[in-house]
């Protein structure tokens, strides 16, 4: 099991807990969608898994080499080209690698995200979708089994997002990564995840879980049904806070 979360809790200072008693296990090679309303601590949970923040209680088990991370905005470094950004990740991941090998690998990764011709472009010359693909290639450059994604497609237009869903799915199958994908979009969660975990708000806790079967993926009707069920449960969860 690459990821095990046990009674995980997090509070900032003396405030109310953001996460409380979170339990989950994620298998190797699994694609898990972590769903929740805004402000439910999804990103905090992801940051804890990435080692960017420490939990205040509970235990977690993550791969010892850490996790690759993809942020909501591409956060590419503007002083580097698309290829330079990937090469930097390769260099930081493996200090002994040679410049030529990094360049070759960076080109391979750019090909993987269908950006072979854009390696010399700078981030500001790329569209939002292209930037996110470079960011995806960069997170793959880290060569970690676990890939954490924090609403990476939230700011993109619908067509681009659909395309990136296909692309992410293809890359997931080609590379066999374990992916935890945070989103507040139910359709996206059903589209991508093999399993959807619903996180409640304040405190965040895993309150429901659905398996997305092969049938849901091929049958639009079934997928819509599941989306409806999950959406109702999510709304219920949000309405609890109306009082």
């Amino acid at each position: 099991m690459p990821v095990v979360l046990e009674n995980l809790g997090k509070r900032f200072g003396d405030g109310a807990p953001v996460l409380d008693d979170v339990n989950a296990t994620i298998a190797k090679g699994e694609f898990v969608a972590l769903l929740g309303a805004s402000g439910c601590g999804k990103s905090t949970l992801l940051n804890i898994m990435a080692g960017l923040e420490k939990p205040t209680s509970g235990a977690l088990e993550v791969p010892s080499d850490g996790a690759a991370f993809m942020f909501q905005d591409a956060s590419l470094f503007p002083w580097l080209t698309a290829r330079g950004n990937i090469e930097l990740a390769l260099q930081l991941a493996d200090k002994s690698s040679t410049k030529a090998s990094r360049r070759e690998r960076a080109n391979e990764l750019l090909e993987l995200v269908h950006l072979g011709g854009a390696g010399d472009k700078r981030p500001h010359e790329l569209s939002g979708g292209m930037r996110q693909r470079v960011a995806l290639a960069r997170s793959l450059a880290q060569d970690r089994q676990l890939l954490l994604m924090d609403e990476p497609f939230a700011a993109l237009d619908a067509i681009t997002r659909d395309l990136l869903h296909d692309e992410l799915e293809r890359i997931w199958k080609e590379t066999g990564r374990t992916i935890v994908f945070v989103t507040h979009n139910v359709r996206e969660a059903v589209r991508l995840g093999q399993r959807v975990l619903l996180l409640s708000s304040r405190p965040g806790r895993v309150v429901a879980e659905w398996d997305v079967t092969e049938e849901h993926r091929t049958d639009a009707g079934r997928a819509g049904e599941l989306t409806g069920v999950i959406t109702r449960r999510l709304r219920e969860e949000i309405r609890r806070h109306a009082k």
């Binding site: 996790a67 956060s75 470094f77 002083w79 292209m130 880290q142």
Partner: protein
């Protein structure tokens, strides 16, 4: 691509294949079609490179402004409100410059001052950069020394001239000391404020990518802070140039060579306004030259590469 083949492909897309090749219920199409769609979006959404030749407005407008100013100066002088030896006209100053050039004083003073200014500035950069990075990255150090550095930047570096003369006498060391005291604090402050303005996300990315402290400082923090750092360098240069002039005016004689400040002081001693004006114009000219030839292009290139130039009036 003709439209016919696409529609046939669409129609013949087998149901069995879509089971193996999972497609979203919302998206229907085959792989190559999606690939084209993606490439089309990429081309539509990314910037089209714009190339321009020499922008003559950039060259002509400043020259025009200069001509207007000189004409206004000449006009004022020709009104005859002040004595000619107190307010010389543009032609008087030009004649004086030619005389000074003939005596070799222009070349000597510009070269001496420029050399000192540049050497002093380079030493300041070498000293201030690691200190600035260290202060920006290590919180206790910054809390301890930050106010002092800011204070030093406010302190006019001329204030160091008497102390420097007592310590080092009338030597080049005095001049360099004053220049360093002027430039170092402002470069440090520029670098620190550049680091402060880095989006916190960059540090998170660095951490996630596995950068250690040194890599973080050199490969992420320093390049990210570069616009602020260049701003600090520019200010540092201004401070060292000004401090240098102040030092040269006050500390004359000894082994101190003949710089622009010395020329200015000589003009004052001789009550020769034309020499004074010539010296002032030369000092101004060197300042403009450094900005146009060094900092301007560096800054422009830096901002352009980061896509920060669009819509600016540069």
């Amino acid at each position: 691509m003709p439209s016919n083949p696409i529609t046939t492909e669409e129609r013949t897309l087998p149901v069995t294949e879509s089971k193996e090749h999972i497609t979203s219920p919302s998206l229907k199409g085959n792989a190559s079609e999606l690939r084209d769609l993606e490439a089309g979006l990429d081309n539509l959404q990314s910037d089209v490179g714009r190339k321009r030749g020499i922008d003559w407005k950039r060259v002509l407008l400043p020259i025009l402004a200069l001509v207007v100013l000189i004409l206004a100066w000449q006009f004022y002088v020709s009104l005859g409100l002040k004595r000619r030896d107190q307010v010389p006209g543009p032609l008087d100053v030009l004649n004086q410059l030619v005389v000074l050039w003939g005596e070799g004083k222009v070349q000597e003073s510009v070269w001496t001052s420029l050399q000192r200014g540049l050497i002093g500035f380079l030493i300041s950069v070498v000293v201030a950069t690691p200190v600035g990075l260290l202060l920006a990255q290590v919180a206790p150090l910054r809390r301890a020394f930050g106010p002092l550095i800011s204070g030093l930047q406010v302190l006019p570096s001329v204030a160091w001239v008497p102390a420097a003369i007592i310590w080092f006498g009338l030597t080049d060391a005095t001049v360099y000391f004053v220049v360093l005291m002027g430039a170092i604090p402002s470069i440090i402050n520029g670098l620190i404020s550049g680091v402060d303005q880095i989006p916190p996300q960059y540090r998170s990315v660095g951490t996630v990518l596995g950068a250690n402290r040194l890599q973080m400082a050199l490969q992420i923090i320093l390049p990210a802070a570069l616009p602020g750092y260049i701003g600090g360098l520019k200010q540092g240069w201004a401070f060292s140039w000004r401090s240098l002039m102040a030092a040269e005016i006050i500390a004359v004689g000894g082994t101190i060579g003949f710089g622009l400040g010395s020329l200015l002081d000589q003009g004052r001693a001789l009550s020769d306004m034309a020499i004074v004006m010539s010296a002032i114009l030369l000092i101004l000219f060197v300042g403009i030259l450094i900005e146009l030839l060094v900092f301007g292009p560096i800054e422009k290139r830096l901002l352009q590469r980061r896509g920060l130039l669009a819509g600016s009036s540069r």
